[in-house]
């Protein structure tokens, strides 16, 4: 029988050692409690408003306006021309997402070798050089920076320089995803089987040949899979980037909302969901192809 407090504490610690994960969990719990405290206590959090009939009345009115009830105007979803016009914007949005993934993919592909540790330290054959080490750190830093800045912030910055349209949005999405895809593929290259690349090196192949014949055949399926996964995320985000870069569905969404054309908003949301579901299905199919199953 364990009785003394010290013995109980010792027994507990033996059963549940304070691992880093456990400590982090407690730390997160503390941060969460503080955060909720700050939000709920500092002025008007809006929590109490959630339980008033006024708020729910407003929400109900908003929903019925989106459905076009209680309005003498013809709702947008009953007009074929509105569906066509919005469809054209949906096509622009799709083009923006493909362009963005293209930019991210090309950027990541071009920096693939620089960002892989096993290339820069000569693990795949070839002499380690100071230039290689510097390039490794610079490329990794560029990944971290472009990944750390959200798409919308990139877009806010880019529209200061470029004319509004598809391109600034695609660039913003491309910059953000360049960092994500770059990091993921660099990790793929670091984890792949080094034997083919070393053999090529030993036979006198340069960097380009080693990339083409030693690394790409192994890394390409994974690279394409990551790009397709990111495409699914990008298509959801194109609308948001369109808010500020004024391209595609995003601009129309914000404009219609501010003009109180709520039935048009419904049409846009339906097109948006169609794009998201369509890209999800297409990407799943292409990913199966990319794995050569």
């Amino acid at each position: 029988m364990i009785r003394s407090p010290n013995a109980i504490r010792a027994y507990r610690q033996q059963r549940q050692p304070l691992t880093f994960a456990r400590a982090s969990f407690y730390a997160f719990f503390l941060i969460a409690a503080t955060s909720w405290g700050f939000i709920l206590l500092s002025g008007d959090s809006g929590l109490t408003d959630l339980f008033t009939t006024k708020t729910w009345g407003n929400a109900g009115r908003f929903l019925s306006a989106m459905l076009g009830l209680n309005s003498e105007l013809t709702p947008a979803y009953l007009q074929a021309s509105r569906w066509m016009d919005t469809g054209k914007l949906a096509y622009h949005t799709l083009a923006m997402s493909v362009l963005a993934i293209g930019i991210a993919g090309i950027g990541a592909f071009l920096t693939l070798l620089l960002a892989a540790r096993n290339v820069s330290n000569g693990d795949l054959g070839g002499a380690p050089s100071r230039a290689g080490t510097v390039a490794y750190h610079v490329t990794r830093a560029s990944y971290i920076f472009s990944r750390g800045v959200p798409e919308l912030v990139w877009a806010m910055i880019i529209v200061f320089f470029l004319s509004p349209g598809i391109l600034p949005g695609a660039l913003a999405l491309g910059f953000h995803n360049y960092g994500i895809v770059g990091r993921l593929t660099a990790e793929v290259v670091e984890n792949l089987d080094p034997a083919p690349a070393r053999a090529l090196r030993a036979a006198g192949a340069g960097n380009t040949k080693m990339l083409l014949y030693g690394i790409l055949p192994q890394a390409l399926p994974q690279f394409i899979t990551y790009l397709l996964y990111r495409w699914e995320v990008v298509i959801r985000t194109t609308v948001v980037v369109g808010f500020v870069s004024s391209g595609g569905l995003g601009r129309e969404f914000i404009l219609r909302l501010s003009w109180f054309h709520y039935t048009d908003v419904s049409v846009i949301i339906v097109w948006y969901l169609a794009l998201v579901i369509g890209v999800d299905l297409l990407s799943a199919w292409l990913r199966r192809l990319a794995r050569f199953e």
Partner: protein, 237 residues
């Protein structure tokens, strides 16, 4: 859509040069650093509050979608699982900022609207992943529990959750990093934080302040990323 216009708009080149030269140096004056630290803290509070709400919504939905608490013979099993999966899919199909814009239009601008907007798509993602992790749990210990006469709830608590918890926690921590970025862009609907300050500095053409804020944002993301990587490594060990 005008495709024929210039790519760089009038004055765009000048702004770009101004923006790039503003990096040397960024605005590190004590007054502005205080603003940046406050904005960083606000972004963290919104991200953490949103993620906790997302876990609170996503966990029960994920448990239902995994089908682990429902008897095989129950006639409700298939429709309940299918409808929960559909709900999770619908939640994550819409971007958090689109949720935010819609919620602000429906219930008005308040911190809670932003937190709910952040929590809804994250609940959809977390719920789906939780369901998959619960289904991947090895079956023998569960059969032992059932054979010993444990109720479905007990099997869930001491079998499924016990075994899937490290992976579930690890994934939730990974999502925290994305949550920080999501909280930062909630500025678009008028929620204070790093994104909001970036927007203000951008509109005032104070580009050296923008660089400072970008550095704070990237540093915060890197910090959370390092933390969550270490947590996941510790959980797997």
């Amino acid at each position: 859509m005008n495709w024929g216009g210039p790519i760089i708009h009038t004055g765009g080149g000048w702004s770009a040069i101004q923006f790039l030269t503003a990096l040397f140096p960024p605005d590190f004056s004590p007054d502005f650093l205080a603003i940046a630290f406050k904005a960083t803290w606000q972004t963290v509070t919104y991200a953490v509050a949103g993620i906790t709400l997302a876990v609170a919504i996503g966990l029960p939905l994920g448990i239902i979608a995994s089908g682990t608490i429902l008897k095989e013979s129950s006639p409700w099993r298939t429709p309940l699982i299918a409808s929960t999966r559909l709900l999770l899919g619908a939640l994550r199909a819409v971007h958090e900022l689109v949720w935010a814009v819609l919620l602000v239009a429906a219930i008005g601008l308040s911190p809670m609207a932003a937190i709910i907007a952040l929590a809804l798509p994250y609940a959809g993602i977390l719920g789906r992943i939780y369901a998959e992790l619960l289904q991947d749990v090895p079956q023998q210990p569960l059969q032992a529990l059932r054979a010993a006469g444990a109720s479905p709830l007990r099997v869930l608590l001491y079998g499924y959750l016990q075994m899937a918890l490290p992976d579930m926690l690890g994934y939730s921590f990974y999502r925290l990093e994305c949550g920080i970025r999501a909280a930062a862009i909630m500025s678009f609907v008028g929620i204070p934080g790093l994104g909001f300050q970036i927007q203000i500095s951008m509109h005032d053409l104070l580009f050296s302040q923008v660089w400072t804020l970008l550095m704070f944002l990237v540093a915060l993301i890197v910090l959370v990323d390092l933390w969550s990587t270490r947590v996941r490594r510790s959980l797997l060990a």
